[in-house]
């Protein structure tokens, strides 16, 4: 189980591959479900040039660790990984990766979805968008 806040750009696929090689026993998992959230170059009808992600150092990690532990207690999963970007990012940059390994697919799919929903609804991160006409804080997340 790993939770990481990254101030630099990251490659979500390579990150998953490395994590699996280093932490998941070969031949034991049949399923890996993952989600990658990336920065779009538009939001609410406006072009977004830069996005800045702020977090609450300490509480964010604690909250993400808590939802990983909760996922492990609710579903029969082997391991899970959450990476979240902070700082300034460009359109198309990956923002978040959640990945779950399990023996069977049901648990991996459900736990991966759970991690993302909990992360989006409660983890202390805040997005600020830089538009042509200035900056704005994103007021709320899309529910789905």
């Amino acid at each position: 189980m790993a939770v990481e806040i990254r101030p630099q750009a990251f490659d979500p696929w390579q990150t998953m591959q490395h994590y699996q090689q280093q932490h998941i026993a070969p031949g034991k998992h049949g399923a890996c479900a993952s989600f990658i959230g990336s920065m779009r170059d538009f939001n609410e009808g406006d072009d977004v040039q830069v996005m800045t992600l702020e977090h609450y150092p300490g509480m964010t990690e604690k909250y993400l660790e808590k939802i990983c532990a909760e996922a492990k207690s609710r579903w029969d999963i082997i391991d899970c990984l959450i990476i979240h970007r902070v700082g300034d990012m460009q359109p198309n940059d990956p923002i978040v990766l959640t990945a779950v390994w399990s023996a069977h697919r049901g648990a991996a799919f459900e736990a991966c979805r759970y991690l993302m929903e909990e992360l989006k609804s409660r983890a202390p991160f805040w997005k600020k968008e830089t538009l042509q006409q200035g900056e704005r804080w994103v007021e709320h997340n899309t529910p789905l």
Binding site: M59, H84, I95, V96, A123, P124, W137, E139
Partner: protein, 76 residues
């Protein structure tokens, strides 16, 4: 007792500071703490945490607590 207070994101900008310290002779709720450290009314959707755990604004702080106020989260 002494309490550390943090403001994040748009609240940090609106309040005009990221951190404050409060010394109080009596026990104080988070709402009291906001009123004594922020110069604007507390927005309805403000989220509160004590020692990095969510609590509501009526929660009473203890000596040495780290209290945080922030707007709805928008990560992921």
């Amino acid at each position: 007792m002494t309490i550390t207070v943090k403001f994040f994101a748009s609240l940090r900008e609106r309040v005009g500071k990221g951190e404050a310290s409060l010394t109080s002779a009596r026990s104080v709720s988070l709402y009291d703490i906001w009123q004594q450290t922020a110069n604007i009314p507390m927005p309805d959707n403000t989220l509160c945490a004590v020692n990095m755990e969510y609590v509501d604004r009526n929660h009473v702080a203890q000596d040495g607590d780290e209290v945080a106020f922030f707007p709805p989260v928008t990560g992921g």
